[in-house]
């Protein structure tokens, strides 16, 4: 049993199989809450896992980059003696049922946090995490556009294990050494995939590609943004409706920016803690003097899109910083999701392009 091999796991064996995995690590999986909402969480038994879920608004990135991550503790006493205690907790975990877009986002983050300087906290967590991704063969939600971002609905690489729902069984593809290792315990429950299983998988892939409603024609916007051709007027118009709530960046499975605080504890010690920050907040770049290099809403929206969709970042990160999960579309009250902004830039540019370019531009 090794990487790049394809197997089949019967659905009647799924709970038993993952109970075996759970002996080595905790299971993080989608499960139904009261009222029917689905969210990722640590599950006690594999029976709780919502294998039939559609999409979650709240990405599982927080199991690798927690909202609040304690970095170290210190105590300011006895007088003038500082005592430091490092913290780096990374429980072994398997994230089950994670969607392709979120897997792509985690791979993006691993690259960002892993080079050129290694972030020890993220690395410890990603090293001890195995991703069991689940192909989207249910209709995508109307906001999904992973297909424009090379991040889904199924993966050709990047997963540790990829599961495809084939009705009464899962196709079980192993994509990495980590995946191989996590499979060992339940290996006896897997049978080699037959040609009909592979054919069914192909059919689902083709089918899935046809179901997308939202498309984001990113290329043109990437051109405009990279060349700094989008006039400030367009950015300010986009920014004029921003509430500065930060939902777009907090729900983005790719976004990684964080701030750092020293939290005072009840016992008089302090904990240095990093927590999610957002480039959409005015305080993100505000300096102690009060000077803010990004003083307007427009300049902050521009920042977000420069980071997500510009050639210098694509070169640096190896892909653009959007995986097409559509969460920013769902979350934004004022249509500042990626496809909307891309569309509004493309259309807004008509005013500023010479007439002959405009004709070619529809």
């Amino acid at each position: 049993m090794k990487a790049s091999e394809t197997w089949v796991l019967k659905k009647t064996d799924v709970s038993k199989f993952f109970a075996g995995v759970a002996k080595e690590m905790r299971l993080v999986a989608p499960r139904y809450l009261f009222g029917g909402d689905v969210t990722f969480g640590v599950v006690e038994s594999p029976g709780e896992i919502a294998w039939d879920y559609g999409h979650v608004i709240y990405p599982p990135k927080r199991f690798l980059l927690p909202h609040y991550e304690d970095m170290f503790r210190y105590e300011c006493g006895p007088p003038r003696r500082i005592r430091l205690e490092a913290i780096n907790e990374a429980p072994p975990q398997a994230i089950l049922g994670i969607r392709s877009c979120d897997v792509s986002a985690i791979r993006f983050q691993e690259k960002f946090f892993g080079s050129p300087i290694v972030d020890p906290y993220y690395k410890a967590r990603s090293d001890s995490t195995v991703l069991f991704s689940l192909v989207c063969n249910a209709p995508p939600k109307k906001e999904c556009f992973c297909i424009c971002c090379d991040a889904g609905p199924y993966l050709n690489a990047g997963f540790d294990v990829q599961l495809t729902d084939l009705g009464d069984r899962f196709l079980y593809e192993i994509g990495s050494e980590k995946g191989t290792k996590a499979t060992e315990a339940g290996a006896s429950m897997l049978v080699k995939a037959g040609s009909d299983d592979i054919a069914e998988r192909r059919r689902i892939e083709v089918q899935a590609d046809l179901l997308f409603e939202t498309t984001a024609y990113l290329a043109k916007a990437i051109d405009f943004i990279s060349a700094d051709e989008v006039p400030d007027e367009i950015w300010e118009e986009l920014g004029s409706t921003c509430f500065r709530c930060g939902a777009c960046t907090n729900l983005c499975p790719v976004c990684t920016c964080y701030t750092v605080d020293d939290r005072a504890e009840a016992d008089g010690s302090f904990t240095r803690c990093r927590s999610w920050d957002s480039c959409q907040y005015a305080g993100f770049t505000r300096e102690a003097s009060g000077h803010n290099p990004r003083p307007t809403f427009g300049s902050r929206v521009q920042r977000r899109f420069y980071h997500k969709t510009s050639y210098p970042y694509i070169m640096r990160d190896g892909r653009h910083g959007c995986v097409g999960c559509g969460r920013c579309i769902s979350a934004c009250l004022t249509k500042l999701g990626v496809p909307d902004v891309v569309k509004r830039i493309r259309r807004g540019m008509h005013k500023y392009l010479p007439a002959q370019d405009r004709a070619a531009e529809v």
Partner: protein, 284 residues
């Protein structure tokens, strides 16, 4: 259980403990702190270049990036010059001799002092912008014969607001450098120029084709200095500036100091005007 972490650690977010050895008052709101590492082995391995910075933890307040301000040839200690502005720097001003701080670093790139050997130098700084240039100046003076003519312009708000007055006094006496000073608002004791730093440009005699300018100061000063120097015939890759932004991690991860795709903390803070022009966000 509390463990005492005094060894250099693999974790780049863990600070090393340093002790305040001496404190100098520079101006009413600026102090210079002389710091020594507690771990003597670590102190020996700690080396830095002019232009780099460290992340200073003031225990109980937080962390802030501060540039080195001392002589880089001095290995037993380093100095940081700090204006009391935000939460961390205000609390730093309350430190006493013997107090402990946390240090991470050094981070960032440095002034191109190797690359400009043999050329004439023009250093332009304003206010506390002299602090990150001071190590460069001291290194240049220590290797004076490696460089050509050395002009230095320094502007401050008032005579009392000048940093490193002891250095300025000494530099003014030297005959191997030209120091010109100016203040925005003079007083009875002030005999030198009054006006912004660019008003000194008429008084310098340089060959722009063979001179490199190192600038640091408030954004508005940098802007007018750059305009003035370009007019004097400087090419864009000979104007070198140290930029600064709100910053948290110092290692290119937290995202705060990004200007377009460039992380100031790892790829900066020192840039040529040519490099800065490639960053549309700076609107140059």
């Amino acid at each position: 259980m509390w463990g005492v972490t005094d060894q250099p650690s693999e974790n780049l977010y863990m600070p090393m403990i340093a002790v305040v050895d001496e404190i100098f008052d520079e101006t009413p709101d600026t102090k210079t702190f002389r710091l020594c590492f507690e771990d003597k082995e670590y102190a020996k391995s700690f080396s830095w270049e002019p232009g780099q910075f460290v992340e200073v933890t003031i225990f109980g307040a937080g962390e802030a990036p501060i540039g080195f301000a001392s002589n880089p040839l001095e290995k037993s200690f380093f100095e940081l010059t700090v204006v009391a502005r935000g939460k961390v720097t205000q609390m730093m001003h309350e430190l006493k001799r013997g107090d402990q701080v946390g240090i991470r670093g050094p981070f960032g790139n440095c002034w191109p002092l190797e690359a400009v050997k043999g050329m004439d130098l023009l250093v332009v700084s304003g206010g506390c912008g002299l602090a990150p240039l001071r190590p460069a100046i001291l290194q240049i003076l220590a290797n004076r014969k490696d460089y050509g003519e050395f002009w230095m312009l320094y502007g401050a708000r008032t005579p009392a607001d000048r940093d490193f007055k002891y250095d300025l006094e000494e530099w003014a006496k030297r005959d191997d450098m030209h120091l010109l000073q100016t203040v925005d608002i003079g007083d009875d004791t002030w005999k030198d120029n009054v006006g912004v730093v660019t008003t000194l440009f008429d008084k310098i005699k340089i060959d722009a084709r063979n001179t490199v300018a190192l600038n640091c100061g408030p954004a508005i000063m940098i802007k007018f200095v750059t305009i003035g120097l370009l007019k004097m015939g400087f090419s864009e890759d000979r104007l070198v500036t140290s930029l600064e932004r709100y910053m948290k991690c110092g290692v290119g991860k937290c995202g705060h100091c990004c200007v377009n795709h460039v992380y100031l903390c790892t790829e900066g803070p020192v840039f040529t005007y040519q490099q800065m022009r490639a960053l549309p966000e700076l609107k140059l």
